[in-house]
């Protein structure tokens, strides 16, 4: 057997990168066309604003500050996308990341505002709550053969209303929002370790940002380098073979969902324990963070490292949309454009398949002409 070098275009990572970039380009193009249709006068400027995001500010300090804000929201998105891609690698579709994120938020906010616990306990509570909810879906799948998508969707709603009920206890009397962390329990705010200083004193930039990147690396190590990852992936790829070689496939299923849930729950702690957002106890829609995680996971080519960049990009676009000239376009335009791009992200796998098919056809045309 002669060893052959795989052509660059055949390399999986390169393919993912190309496909992701293509999705982004098409998404931006479609967004631009939509803007043109609504109001041709400002379309070019608006799309530039979205791409530039914090760069629209001329002062460096302001730029840094708003870059910080984007990063603050990137951390939870990255955790949600890790949750989804981790489960996906093990053959499960964790659409429940949204619900696990919700219970994570409920647990950490209640521990902070109701019980006045320090930040690390609140953080652990969020992780455990997410893991527990994930494990429920895992158990339903393992023992009752309930499809995880069904159980997750139902659990998403159960979680939302349970958390709304729980957090009503720590709600401001005159508004639907929970108390602010800084006024009620400052000890629950994640430490910044001077990171805020780097971003023009943006107090919301905390250890959550580097922590989420570390989590991505850990997920990669877990999946690619460890015995546990080997077992979990084997179970996901072929549960019969996993059983045949003596792996406990039921345990593995539950463990996978628990880890995925823990990641999403941690994501919630990374946002709500910064004090950046308060929980609105009357909300009747599951927060989009968990669902956007799906887009981020796919845009990142289902790689934990790719997810770091894709999560940032999606958050960048979403935040950038806020700066679009509201006199020309309605306030929802930013959501619309980012939704378009996120929607296109789902096509990453499609483009990879198409690319491979094209390469195959090219090779076949070459025929016996050589390798």
């Amino acid at each position: 057997m002669k060893k052959e070098k795989t052509p660059l275009l055949r390399n999986g990572a390169v393919q993912s990168l190309l496909a992701s970039l293509l999705c982004i380009l098409i998404g931006l193009l479609l967004g631009y066309i939509a803007l043109l249709l609504i109001n041709p006068a400002g379309a070019g400027e608006a799309i530039l604003t979205i791409v530039k995001n914090f760069m629209t500010y001329s002062r460096t300090t302001a730029q840094l500050k708003y870059l910080g804000s984007t990063l603050v929201k990137t951390a939870p998105l990255l955790m949600c996308s890790l949750s989804i891609l981790f489960a996906y690698k093990v053959g499960l579709f964790n659409i429940g990341a949204a619900g696990q994120y919700v219970v994570g938020a409920g647990a950490c906010l209640y521990c902070a505002l109701g019980l006045h616990l320090p930040w690390y306990l609140c953080f652990v509570a969020a992780v455990l709550a997410g893991a527990l909810l994930g494990a429920v879906s895992g158990m339903l799948k393992a023992y009752c053969n309930v499809n995880e998508v069904i159980s997750c969707i139902m659990l998403n709603w159960i979680s939302l209303y349970s958390v709304n009920t729980l957090l009503t206890k720590v709600k401001e009397e005159t508004s639907p929002y929970t108390y602010t962390l800084s006024s009620t329990s400052p000890e629950a705010i994640l430490p910044s370790l001077g990171l805020g200083g780097l971003f023009s004193k943006n107090q919301y930039v905390t250890i959550a940002v580097p922590l989420s990147v570390i989590a991505a690396v850990l997920v990669w190590v877990l999946l690619e380098k460890t015995k546990l990852g080997y077992e979990l992936k084997a179970t996901g790829c072929n549960k019969f073979a996993a059983k045949y070689c003596g792996m406990r496939e039921k345990k593995n299923l539950i463990l996978t969902m628990a880890i995925a849930g823990a990641l999403a729950g941690m994501g919630a702690a990374m946002l709500f324990l910064t004090g950046f957002e308060q929980w609105q106890c009357t909300q009747s829609a599951v927060p989009a963070m968990g669902f956007n995680g799906i887009a981020a996971a796919f845009l990142g080519g289902l790689s934990p490292i790719g997810a770091i960049f894709s999560s940032y990009f999606i958050q960048h676009i979403t935040n950038g949309g806020a700066y679009v000239d509201k006199t020309m376009y309605s306030a929802q335009i930013s959501d619309f454009i980012s939704a378009l791009i996120i929607y296109l992200c789902g096509f990453v796998l499609f483009f990879k398949v198409a690319l491979n098919r094209w390469l195959n056809r090219r090779d076949e045309k070459k025929g016996g002409g050589g390798k």
């Binding site: 057997m1 060893k3 380098k225 460890t226 015995k227 546990l228 080997y230 077992e231 992936k233 084997a234 790829c237 072929n238 019969f240 073979a241 996993a242 059983k243 045949y244 070689c245 003596g246 792996m247 406990r248 090779d363 076949e364 070459k366 025929g367 016996g368 390798k371």
Partner: protein, 512 residues
């Protein structure tokens, strides 16, 4: 004089990157003849058939029907020309009835409503004419493999196909069913149908075919008339060297008992009855015990019960003096049980894993391959896999990092056998280890199994192939309807005798 050919494939050449799958191959099928196409796995039989069905376009060569050049761009063109095929893996809808499967795609309709009564008449008439016994109203999932195959044949006849291709049709049948199929094929050819019979079983080709074309490594080796050839000549044409059909082995020297099964009962997943009923037997060191039987008579469940994939309803299992009746799968495996599974894609391999990751599937947790902290020792895994690949001659495109999915069936099986034998088991359970493999690979695997026996291991071989049963085993247990109905010495029993026991026509009175 111009001969009367139903279909001709002339000088077909099909290239793939790096390989010539079909190199100037000519295949001429006469009207009303049974023409065998013989070749090992990878010889180019499938590619040639894909060309005939329009799935591939050849670089060179032409196809003619009744002397007229035709162009086959896709399978619909092939259907229109009256070419039909019974695939090795049947293409039936399990939850449909036989009748529904037969008419699928060509349903007789009136105003959008199905006219099943008419179709039923036609199917019954056809099955009468050709001696194809089927129950048109039975669900496909409930009928035997043989009847499923007859359903496939009826599908072709219903479409009034003239050229019938059988792809390895006997792989899944019992000796009696094989005889029936041969008769059906003769009936079909007597009625003027032209049959192309793809096989690598020489005995069957000798029994039923008129002529035989042989392929080897993509090249056309020639066409011979069966009346003027012998099995030995055919096999030399196919493999390129002499192959020994008989497995060479010394007499067995059975030692102590390694597996003791008492009163084993396993529930069935298909029906309420038990699949394995109160079965008791022993396997000793240094002997090959073979479970023979028709597919679906409890052999699968027996193996599941032994290996721990299914729980026992009753009975005890003792491995090497250790009670393993309730032991989990991993415990049985590390206590010295190796299992070459029946379905290598379902159980034997994680197809999306690389070859090296599949090689350590039974050992990845040993401290040789994993650190105490739970990290895989990639270098140790690579070295181990490379060692096995060399020792057992497992061939693949990219060595240890080849995705298992992209390997040929024979090499996948070799990989599993390497993995299971290298575990150094006390008991080797091999279920249909040579299913779907070519002569060369079968010879190799049989040698490995005998070597295990000679090394003092106990071997339990479950096989549906009577040739294998007779050649390899030291002792034969026949299973029928979940029970062991007889025990035989392969030297003192005939295939016909075994067949009667397998079909349930005879059974040993008080024995076992």
């Amino acid at each position: 004089m111009e001969e009367n050919y139903a279909i001709e494939m002339l000088n077909i050449t099909k290239r793939f990157p790096g390989i010539v799958a079909n190199d100037n191959i000519t295949l001429q099928l006469k009207k009303g003849e049974i023409h065998a196409l013989l070749g090992e796995n990878g010889a180019g039989k499938s590619t040639l058939m894909s060309v005939l069905f329009g799935l591939y376009q050849p670089e060179e060569g032409s196809i003619r029907k009744n002397g007229q050049p035709v162009s086959i761009r896709d399978p619909n063109d092939a259907n229109a020309l009256g070419i039909g095929m019974v695939h090795q893996h049947f293409k039936l809808v399990e939850c449909f009835t036989v009748l529904d499967n037969i008419i699928m795609g060509v349903e007789p309709c009136k105003y959008g409503f199905l006219q099943k009564a008419e179709a039923r008449e036609k199917v019954l008439a056809l099955s009468e004419k050709y001696g194809l016994k089927v129950d048109p109203d039975a669900l496909v999932e409930d009928i035997t493999v043989g009847m499923q195959q007859r359903t496939e044949i009826l599908k072709m006849l219903y479409r009034e196909n003239e050229i019938l291709i059988f792809d390895e049709p006997t792989a899944v049948l019992t000796p009696q069913e094989i005889n029936e199929l041969m008769q059906i094929m003769r009936n079909l050819s007597a009625e003027g149908k032209s049959i192309l019979f793809i096989s690598h079983k020489l005995g069957e080709i000798m029994a039923v075919a008129n002529r035989c074309s042989v392929l080897r490594k993509g090249k056309y080796m020639g066409t011979v008339s069966i009346a003027e050839t012998s099995q030995e000549e055919l096999s030399r044409m196919m493999v390129g060297r002499d192959v020994s059909f008989a497995v060479e082995k010394a007499p067995a020297k059975p030692g102590e008992v390694v597996l003791d099964v008492k009163g084993m009962t396993v529930a069935s997943k298909r029906h309420n009855n038990n699949a394995v009923k109160d079965v008791s037997f022993q396997v000793r060191r240094g002997e090959i015990v073979c479970i023979a039987g028709i597919d679906g008579n409890g052999q699968t469940e027996l193996v599941y019960g032994l290996t721990g994939l299914e729980p026992l309803k009753a009975g005890t299992l003792t491995l090497n003096g250790q009670d393993i009746t309730r032991a989990p799968i991993r415990k049985r495996s590390v206590s010295g049980m190796s299992h070459i599974p029946e379905d290598r894609h379902k159980h034997g391999l994680v197809l999306d894993y690389t070859l090296e990751d599949n090689m350590v599937l039974q050992r990845y947790f040993e401290h040789h391959f994993v650190t105490p902290a739970g990290f895989l020792k990639r270098r140790a895994i690579r070295e181990y896999a490379v060692g096995l690949i060399e020792q057992y001659d497992v061939r693949s495109g990219q060595g240890p990092v080849t995705p298992a999915r992209s390997m040929s069936g024979g090499n996948q099986q070799k990989a599993i056998i390497a993995r299971e034998i290298d575990k150094d088991p006390e008991l080797l359970i091999a279920v249909q280890p040579t299913r779907g493999l070519d002569v060369g690979a079968i010879e190799y695997i049989h040698k490995q199994i005998v070597a295990q026996r000679d090394a003092g291991k106990g071997v339990l071989l479950v096989s549906l192939e009577l040739d294998e049963v007779m050649n390899v085993s030291d002792r034969i247990l026949v299973m029928c309807e979940g029970e062991i109905v007889g025990e035989f010495d392969p030297k003192k029993v005939t295939v016909e005798e075994l067949g009667l026991y397998m079909a349930g026509a005879k059974r040993e009175g008080a024995a076992s």
